[in-house]
């Protein structure tokens, strides 16, 4: 399974290198999420 670093974010409290790597699952990019209050 390929892995990719977690998206780097702008936050002073946690350096990007402390963020966990994401396991990218097959089809993960299509897994539905609710975002910005919208869940369609």
């Amino acid at each position: 399974m390929p892995e990719t670093p977690a998206e780097q974010i702008d936050d002073e409290q946690t350096p990007a290198e402390e963020l966990p790597p994401l396991i990218i699952l097959e089809g993960a990019e299509d897994a539905p999420v609710c975002e910005n209050g919208v869940c369609l």
Binding site: M1, A6, E7, Q8, I9, D11, Q13, T14, L19, P20, P21, L22, I23, L25, E26, G27, A28, D30, A31, P32, V33, C34, E35, N36, G37, V38, C39, L40
Partner: protein
């Protein structure tokens, strides 16, 4: 090595309830012990406290579509929920600010009832069209899962566990989480979205094999 999953979710999130069921299906088929902690995430923290609006109308405003179109669009998630044994009633669901619900969930977590409380809140909003910022409803739901009623009432009437809600949301932001559900395994691996049960199971087996 034991496996722990941290889950970020909002109690008004249809995909979170579906994701919860799918994760539970995977856990039922996984051969090793797993602990799960539910964390607060607010899909829309800008909703003013006390503001209530039908979900379809809220969504229609957000995406700029007529309510009739939103109803058709939510039909899909309702059908997928049904496949997981969940009955959604989004046509009657009421959009609210979920901060108080999350504060009560943190109280439940202190009693080892975080998963049960999250389940109760999701069901209340998505299936039962309960108003999950109503103080009496929150106290009732907490009591039903085993939280002492007086403690729940004390939390609902005050501001306790607000810092814990903020900390969960801050951590989510640090992790780059912009949508929920989001699953973090052993503080190391992240999985986004309501993945199929098989995907969760494969991830669990991979993490266990590496540990």
């Amino acid at each position: 090595m034991s496996i722990h999953i941290d889950v970020w979710s909002d109690v008004v999130c249809p995909w979170c309830y579906i994701g919860k069921r799918r994760l539970e299906t995977a856990l039922g088929r996984f051969e090793h012990d797993v602990t799960v902690t539910w964390h607060s995430f607010q899909l829309d923290p800008t909703i003013p406290a006390g503001t209530r609006e039908p979900v379809h109308e809220m969504l229609a405003k957000k995406i700029g579509a007529p309510a009739s179109q939103v109803r058709a669009m939510t039909h899909q998630v309702t059908q997928l929920a049904e496949a997981e044994g969940l009955t959604y009633d989004l046509g009657h669901a009421i959009s609210v600010n979920t901060r108080d619900a999350h504060r009560v969930a943190h109280l439940a977590g202190q009693h080892g009832l975080g998963t049960e409380m999250h389940e109760a809140l999701l069901k209340a909003h998505l299936s039962d069209a309960a108003v999950v910022d109503d103080p009496d409803t929150l106290v009732r739901l907490a009591a039903e899962v085993g939280v002492p009623e007086d403690e729940a009432a004390d939390v609902v009437r005050g501001t306790k566990y607000g810092a814990e809600v903020d900390a969960d949301i801050r951590r989510a932001r640090q992790l780059g989480i912009s949508g929920v559900p989001f699953f973090l395994i052993n503080q190391k691996y992240g999985i986004s979205g309501a993945q199929p049960a098989d995907a969760f199971l494969n991830a669990l087996r991979k993490v266990h094999a590496e540990s």
